[in-house]
């Protein structure tokens, strides 16, 4: 499964932990797809399934994000630095509807709305975990 260069979506990404983990962790037990791991390049997509969509409701922020189920492979590129990482979707998230209008910008160009959540492994490949969110382009 190649991680390609067809543009899919753009927006903000945050990060979360899943699977076996030290400390408090949201996606304990492998996340919605059952195989999510913090140490792997995995991510959470707001439209991984219908049940997922009902929780995240990205359409309430104007993002009609297409369905990409568990196992979908995406290429995520940090808008500012150009760093990229290939990820596999293994969970449902983020709750886009709770953060409508939130922006992450880079020299004046902004990406709006949280459309992706990455594991620490994937996020740290793009930036600093302590910054919390990044503007990204998503390809498949």
């Amino acid at each position: 499964m190649a991680c390609g260069s067809t543009s899919l979506w753009a927006g903000e990404t945050s990060w979360f932990c899943c699977g076996n983990a030290w400390g408090p962790c949201n996606g304990a037990g492998g996340g919605a797809c059952g195989n999510c791991q913090s140490s792997a390049n995995h991510g959470a997509w707001p439209n991984a399934s219908q049940a997922c969509w009902d929780i995240t409701r990205p359409d309430l922020c104007g993002e009609n994000i297409p369905r990409r189920g568990c196992g979908s492979v995406m290429n995520v590129k940090h808008q500012c630095s150009g760093a990229t990482v290939c990820i596999t979707i293994t969970d449902c998230g983020p709750r886009t509807k709770e953060w409508c209008g939130e922006t992450a910008c880079c020299n004046g160009t902004c990406r709006t709305n949280r459309v992706l959540d990455l594991t620490p492994a994937a996020y740290s490949a793009l930036g600093d975990l302590s910054s919390g969110k990044l503007p990204v382009y998503i390809y498949e």
Partner: protein, 206 residues
């Protein structure tokens, strides 16, 4: 493990760096660099991979031993790793700090480069960092009571460090606009001793 600046050379080093920065390139707006069009870059083909760039490695787990500048890590899936700290390694534990604050039993994420001897030379190490989706259930002078999933979580308010971001704005030290019942994204440092979290940044939406 060495500190990032020792007592004698610290101030001189800072002055040297400050001079380099203030004397260096001033990058403002798009005019200085002729503009980097981000959206055009989105559509453009990806540049070829540079073979000279080494593969970046990621390590996660709990610290089980510290010997000199090497950290022994027990991963959450039973794997074991060793991380080598250098002067160039950034350490985050509640705030950017030095390696002295790292303790056995702390949780860790690290990014670095795998060395021929099997250790990972770390570029950046984040100790006990968590990023949790919570609901605020109580606010006190030194503590926030948070609900994380079905669990109750205590968030410690740290003077001079805890900041809040309201509706996506820049972090501010003003925490007085936090409300009970709000959904809050909490970026902080877990305390293994009592399972509480030192709140570094709390982001609330609307």
């Amino acid at each position: 493990m060495t500190a990032h600046q020792d007592d004698t050379g610290g101030l001189d080093r800072r002055r040297l760096l400050a001079r380099a920065a203030l004397g260096g390139a001033t990058v403002v707006g798009a005019t200085a660099l002729g503009g980097i069009d981000a959206d055009a870059a989105f559509a453009a083909p990806q540049s070829p991979l540079d073979p000279a760039i080494t593969k970046s490695s990621f390590v996660e787990g709990r610290i089980t031993g510290i010997s000199g500048s090497v950290l022994e890590i027990a991963g959450s899936y039973g794997d074991r790793s060793r991380i080598r700290m250098t002067n160039a390694t950034s350490v985050w534990k509640v705030r950017p700090t030095t390696a002295e604050v790292i303790e056995i039993g702390d949780g860790l994420y690290a990014r670095g480069v795998e060395m021929p001897d099997g250790t990972v030379a770390a570029d950046a190490v984040w100790v006990n960092i968590v990023n949790l989706h919570t609901t605020i259930r109580g606010i006190e002078k030194k503590r926030l009571h948070l609900a994380h999933g079905h669990h109750e979580l205590t968030g410690n308010v740290i003077a001079d460090t805890t900041s809040a971001s309201y509706a996506g704005r820049a972090p501010t030290a003003d925490l007085s606009r936090l409300r009970i019942g709000q959904s809050a994204q909490v970026l902080g440092a877990w305390r293994p001793s009592d399972d509480s979290v030192d709140v570094v940044r709390v982001s609330v939406g609307h």
